[in-house]
């Protein structure tokens, strides 16, 4: 296991601090401030080409690059894991272009960039959680025209989504979204929480940390300020239900954390382990 805070990597010469040029950072920073001022509203921004392909977290990277300072400690997770390709390359990228310290420990981090998970360890005030978002528009599958979804957001008209959830209940007896379950932010804007498991949705509600969302290909930034109401969309008679595999982690025995199912052989063998590697390692005393 890594030591809690990795040493500072040598900063690459020839790049501005944190890769982006200052004009781009200012533009993204202005978008972030307005996103915080209107919680849940998607603010368009001029996403730049990054040295990673779309789908690898270019939105999250640009948000992180714009807020990052030399005193920050950065953690990057991919589906809860610190040691997968995406997380490792983004962490190394910022180690090299910003010379910031990186860590695997949620507690040590001031900025956590995440792909599709919220860490199990409760976040605290002053931390920033940066989500990588593939599709920021929650109504996208119901209404493909951006001009129309913009108007629906302006009017706060989210009947389409309610009908979709209703149809799920009619067809399947329950709301059949295990991830990317839409939420209402501050009782005003319908927001995509990015494809986090619905298990993580309740953690967004009144979280002391600032939550920023960046979508690079779709060129949108949105935010949930600390201590902001985030309600998963549901019905009185079909309340929202976060889903968790009914097992204990095979490594740390946790019955609280979100579990990944891992296939171990071709005989049907499988095990359930924590998706959050830092949480699991800490429980095992590593």
């Amino acid at each position: 296991m890594n030591i809690p805070v990795n040493p500072v990597a040598e900063q690459l010469a020839g790049y501005n601090f944190a890769y982006l040029d200052e004009a781009t950072k200012r533009m993204i920073r202005r978008a972030i401030l307005k996103a915080v001022a209107v919680p849940g509203h998607q603010v368009p921004f001029g996403a730049r080409e990054m040295p990673l392909p779309y789908g690898w977290g270019t939105g999250g990277i640009q948000v992180t690059a714009s807020i990052l300072g030399p005193r920050d400690v950065l953690k990057v997770i991919d589906q809860g894991a610190d040691d997968t390709t995406n997380a490792v390359s983004i962490r190394r990228f910022f180690g090299r272009v910003a010379g910031v310290r990186t860590t695997d420990r949620t507690r040590e981090a001031t900025i956590v960039q995440t792909r599709h998970r919220i860490p199990e360890t409760a976040l605290r005030e002053g931390q920033v959680l940066v989500y990588q978002v593939p599709m920021p528009e929650p109504l996208f599958r119901l209404e493909p025209r951006v001009s129309e979804t913009t108007r629906l957001h302006a009017l706060g008209d989210y009947g389409l989504m309610q009908v979709r959830l209703y149809e799920d209940i009619v067809k399947h007896g329950e709301v059949a979204t295990a991830y990317n379950h839409p939420v209402m932010v501050n009782a005003r804007y319908l927001m995509s929480p990015s494809p986090i498991p619905s298990f993580d949705n309740p953690k967004m509600h009144m979280n002391p940390a600032l939550q920023l969302f960046g979508a690079g290909r779709e060129k949108r930034i949105y935010a949930v300020p600390p201590y902001t109401a985030v309600q998963s969309l549901d019905f009185e008679d079909h309340p929202f239900r976060p889903i968790r595999a009914p097992h204990a982690c095979a490594l740390c025995n946790s019955t609280e954390s979100y579990l990944d199912e891992v296939i171990t052989d071709d005989q049907g063998g499988r095990m359930f382990v924590c998706s959050d590697t830092d949480y699991c390692a800490e429980r095992r005393g590593e």
Binding site: I32, L33, H41, L68, H153
Partner: protein
């Protein structure tokens, strides 16, 4: 002679931005900006820091600080000046223009609502303004002296227009405190 801007344009802009981000994330909380530049009076150091960190050729700016302040802003940020209703950022050292005349954005594009940066006489962590809204756990209080007459009433009159609105940053010396449009003064 022209007063200098940030000593380190990259890192000082970053820390000033983080101060504003923290102020807007925790409305009513007093956040110091360090290091802040020393702009020509009557611009405050905090106001100067915000201008340098956030303004450039893309942001029409309105200010009432006089010719020296205008020269300083123009030289360091390159921002074009505009009439108050067309400005994205307003730096008010005296009485700001009537709030309802400023750009509040539209229901579809609320992010076009202007940012009003306002000098005040003092900021205190406890005071008569009781605040509620996103970013505030239950309720906080903030003491602001030197607010223009009727300012809070003018601001309250904009509340029904949400998501349209103004985001306000108070500056006192090198300290700031923010009232985003979501914050309710009770």
């Amino acid at each position: 002679m022209m007063q200098p801007g940030f000593a380190d344009p990259v890192l000082d802009a970053q820390s000033a931005f983080r101060a504003v981000l923290e102020a807007l994330s925790h409305p009513g909380r007093i956040i110091p900006i360090a290091p802040a530049p020393i702009p020509p009076a009557p611009l405050s150091p905090a106001m100067g820091a915000l201008a340098l960190a956030l303004c450039d050729a893309d942001t029409p700016v309105w200010q009432d600080g006089g010719a020296q302040a205008a020269d300083w802003l123009r030289f360091h940020t390159g921002a074009p000046f505009a009439e108050a209703p067309a400005a994205m950022f307003l730096f008010a050292t005296g009485r700001p223009p009537a709030l309802s005349t400023l750009n509040l954005g539209t229901d579809e594009v609320p992010q076009d609502g202007a940012t009003l940066v306002l000098n005040v006489a003092s900021l205190k962590a406890q005071g008569t303004l009781r605040l509620r809204g996103p970013g505030i756990k239950d309720e906080v209080s903030l003491g602001v002296e030197g607010l223009p007459e009727n300012f809070l009433a003018e601001r309250a009159a904009l509340r029904p227009h949400f998501p349209r609105g103004l985001d306000i940053v108070f500056c006192c010396g090198a300290q700031i405190a923010a009232l985003p449009r979501t914050t309710e003064v009770i």
